[in-house]
Symmetry: C2
Subunit: 337 residues, 2 copies
């Protein structure tokens, strides 16, 4: 997690991290992480880890991509070296990382995409989901910690946990394609389902409509995960609609740009109006930043380009997101009991 | 402290911070900090704060400096704006910051400097020390927290503490000038004494010689402070010689460049040899970094230019410095008892 030591994430009650397969594949390399006993051990994080398939960053970061039925060839954004990701290779990499929740290798359909394009992309994603699943089931027991030394008890615990592969719904912004994608994916029987290809530039009502269209077709007793969202009010709204999991760079990236999420709305800590504001970032927040530091101090760190700025802003935004989801869970439990 | 939240500094048992008068004067400005109740309150740090006089950064960072008997005029390294620091103004700024230990405004003699230059610089530093002292004694009760709201008990405690002004010995690399500077400074009766103008490019034996020459002339029952040093073995050596205080950017700056100080010597964490080294940075260190993370992980963070790299490297180096000084104190207490 950018700028935040793991023990502070634990103190924040963060229970799961997303590991970026594309980045870890390029640096330090998945073979290196496998040799070192997996990502949990490498980064000293015993709680859950979800890994994405690598596909999204291949599409958004790498150069000279070429997509074929077999997979995607691309050049590294770091050194221009050539690489190839297929559904099978993405599974190998995620298994090597020791992921608890791996994602099927999909094609994240761009926005806007016409019906024919969305249909073709969805069909390939379903074929890739099948290949991902077959390869994953065959190799999922090859977990990296069997190779590592360390606490025998912990090693046994981790061996006992079976990793999970989630399928991903695509279908662009077409409700009938979303429904078809969901139905055909559910037939394949995954332990969890993601809705992908959202928050890619479409208006928010459209995001909501696609989620509302897709959710009822996904089994209620399995995790339902919307990828790449969102703002605090957005994630609360989707959770109330029945979404169980979401992921987003927003709380951490916004923090580094000085955008704080608070109970009173968004606050751009760079603003001159906070130069001598001795109040906490969010008067209703009990996080370690709001209990101790003023808006004036956080603004100063930002303006002076101090690295502590990213640390404190990120700590607050993460605390705000964790608290947002805690409240939603409490609310939903109250409704259901 | 770059990259490290205050509560982690407290956990590390850091008891005093150095506030850079030059930087704080330019950003956010000393009047702003005074209006907000002083630096302790602004940055949420209740332990001790020492401020430098601003002179050193004026000489090393600012542009178009002009030194006269009255003081130093200079242009900001940030926006080129014109400013003027005199002994009186430096005292006003340090008092406004609410410093616990303020430093006299001196001229840090450059290296190399010939005898005549070192003599002239020393004489001006002594005249400036006198002006610093007179102004400080007249105004030291004007502490900024009288203006601030907050815990009345804490405000009273802080009002009860009288700030201290330390004089600074100069004299270039000439033992007789160092002795003269020390003797004439001690006549002025400061509550503590610093040895300045060292670690400015001279060989280390010369630093040691100047400290050895000067220390016996400074009262043993008052703090003796060598400015701008040093490496771990250096600070241990000087402490054994009788130095009570030192300050240096080295542990934090080196950390950001991947240089870790360990019980086994210096370790450049960027080196390829650590790519899969699962040992702790320092096997003999019990700090929160060495207990949890491997050399391989720290190397990865550095190579991938992750901001967490600066946080973890700095935490370790600070812990190592704090532990170095703790051991020296223990050793000296054992010898003296």
């Amino acid at each position: 997690m950018k700028a935040i030591p793991q023990h502070l994430l634990e103190e924040l009650d963060v229970r799961i991290l997303l590991g970026n397969t594309y980045h870890l594949y390029l640096r330090p390399g998945y073979e290196a992480i496998r040799r070192m006993g997996g990502l949990h051990r490498f980064m000293s994080w015993e709680r859950a880890i979800l890994t994405d398939s690598g596909g999204f960053q291949v599409y958004s970061l790498s150069e000279l991509r070429k997509v074929t039925e077999e997979g995607v060839s691309f050049r590294s954004h770091i050194d221009g070296s050539s690489h190839f990701f297929s559904p099978e290779h993405s599974m190998d990499v995620q298994i090597a990382l020791g992921s608890d929740i791996a994602m099927a290798f999909d094609e994240c359909t761009e926005y806007p995409a016409d019906y024919a394009r969305a249909r073709a992309s969805l069909e390939m994603t379903l074929r890739w989901a099948k290949r991902s699943q077959e390869h994953f089931e065959k190799h999922k027991q090859e977990r990296p910690w069997d190779r590592a030394q360390g606490s025998e008890k912990r090693a046994q615990e981790m061996r006992d946990q079976t990793p999970n592969l989630f399928g991903i719904v695509q279908g662009g912004m077409f409700p009938d394609l979303r429904r078809e994608s969901a139905e055909r994916l559910v037939e394949m029987d995954f332990p969890g389902y993601a809705i992908g290809g959202l928050s890619v530039g479409e208006p928010r009502e459209m995001t909501r409509e696609m989620i509302a269209t897709t959710l009822p077709l996904l089994p209620k007793d399995k995790p339902r995960y919307v990828m790449g969202v969102g703002y605090p009010d957005e994630i609360a709204e989707y959770a109330r609609m029945g979404v169980d999991m979401m992921d987003c760079v927003l709380p951490t990236r916004a923090a580094r740009h000085g955008l704080l999420f608070t109970s009173e709305g968004r606050l751009n800590i760079r603003n001159r109006q906070y130069a001598e504001d001795q109040g906490p970032p969010d008067p209703n927040c009990g996080c370690m930043v709001c209990r101790r530091y003023s808006r004036a101090y956080l603004r100063h760190l930002m303006v002076a380009q101090e690295s502590l700025s990213a640390v404190l802003n990120t700590l607050h935004n993460l605390a705000f997101y964790v608290e947002t989801m805690r409240k939603v869970r409490e609310e939903l439990l109250a409704v259901s009991s």
